[in-house]
Amino acid sequence: MIEARALIKRFGTLTAVDGVSLRAADGCVTGLLGPNGAGKSTTLRILYTVLTPDGGEAWIDGASVLAQPLEARRRMGVLPHGAGVYPNLTARENIEYFGALHGLPRTARRARAAELIARLEMEPFADRPAKGFSQGERVKTALARALVHQPRNVLLDEPTNGLDVMAVRTLRRLLGELRDEGHCILFSSHVMQEVAALCDDVIVIAGGRVVVQAGPDELKARAGTASLEEAFVRLIDPDGAGGGP
């Protein structure tokens, strides 16, 4: 379970995250939805301990990201934006390296890497150097790397960016499976269909604040529309200043 309370993050004069509180439950896919620059990535980066908030607090399964960052990191797998891998290592070695850094013994990380390679359908490129990987192959490698230590919580920053339809389907299926296994999944996106297809719970963020947290159906009901997209637009821009039908 991931919890955040009143997170604040400033970059100079800009307040990127302005009092975000949220809760992502186990056995649930929670979507962090918002337009570009809404503060989604910054919120996630605070949660995965790369940024320190200027205010507020967050916990991963009860481990404070501020007071016990190592504990918190142990309990989550992270797919950051961009998903960089080591070009001179193969996909398998990339995964095993992170297994090693998570403290898995050699046999365990080998087995785990093999399992993830099968599960993510990575066999064709698993033993090639990552140098020439396509975006999809890179994201799969990074995803396997994030899951190598079987984390209870999984954080993904715009995971479907640059992926083709087939890769997106694999990813969706995997996230669904992880949810069914009881994992807590928090991912950010600005793509409505993504969120509609996957999420049990949606957190809409705009201007560094949480506008609403609700299920997709409740969201539609609240905005008084039949389509989630329309609901989203009305929620982040209640005056309709952005135009529309």
Partner: protein, 391 residues
Amino acid sequence: MKSIWRVLRKELRETLRDRRSLFTTLIIGPLLMPALIGTVIFMAIRHSGAASTGPITLTVAHAERAPRLLDFLRQYQVRVRPVNADRARARRLVERQQGPLLYVPREFGTRLAAGKPAPLRLYADESDRSVQGKVERLSTLIGLYGGTIARLRLVARGLDPQLLVPIALHPIDTSTPQSRAALTLGMLSYAIVFTMLMSGLYIAIDTTAGERERGSLEPLLTVPVEREHLVYGKMLAACVMMFVSLVLTVAAFAVTLRHIGLARLGMSANFGPGVAAGIVLGCLPLIPAGAALMTLVASYTRSYREAQTYVGLVLLVPTLPLIFASILGLQPRAALMAVPSLSQHFIIMSLLRGEPLPSGYVVISAGVSLALGAVLVYLAGRLYRRERLLG
């Protein structure tokens, strides 16, 4: 500790796979530099040696006008090559060919017979160092010939030739082959220190700028490992590469310089395994400081390219003391042994000359270098805690 070891292993594995950086690290630096410097030293020795002792070829225009002088010169290993040329052609000949040309004017014989200064023209391009030496030797020889004639003239007039020598100045050259070779040796220690630092460059840059640019820094920071340990592992990998390169460089120098007249350069005749090991040990304490310095500098840059530029400049910093040392002719002193890189230079020089430094000096050198390394390593470790590292 385990995670430091794991990071170290992964960094080395990656470096070993990157052919291009491996080529620069282990081939260009450690093998090419010694070969290059060896060649330069070899040429320098041959050149200077040839000018001072070997035979000289002297082109002479109108050799028939000064047969006795040329006979005299021939006794001193001067090969006379007569040519037909007037003054203008003589000048052109010198411009075209190497080596000096002696032009004997028409009045040479008559003036000599009349007891008046007899003119000779020696054409030479003195911008060529080897020609310079030859001209000096020829001047001395011709002066010697003139002195003999002068003495004979005095004797013929019943005067003591010693009258012409009111003062007997004896210049005594106190320079040893060692001191004359100081500059060449300075080049050698410069090459050793520089290649050593170069070899750590790739990993040092990769630790921050490289990881950031390819987007692997953020995932790396989400593993449950103290961030300092990640940096320590990377810097340790850089140190390993620097050590390997140091050993290779010194070994390559030992092999190259063995085939060159070492005694002429004032190096201990035996650049054997003992001296080589001494050099490696003397440079070893500088390695952590170098790795940490490059890591620190690279972390302040925004991209890999920028990092390469700045770290390349920083590589010059440790070489500055060496330049000062050779310009100012610095000698080892306790205070100077506290200057990292300069002290390594002194250690290398003393080992090559076979004049060991006081052991206290070596302790100062190692102590200060290691202490500086410890401070820089600590700072680099702290750096990984900064958010701004993410760029």
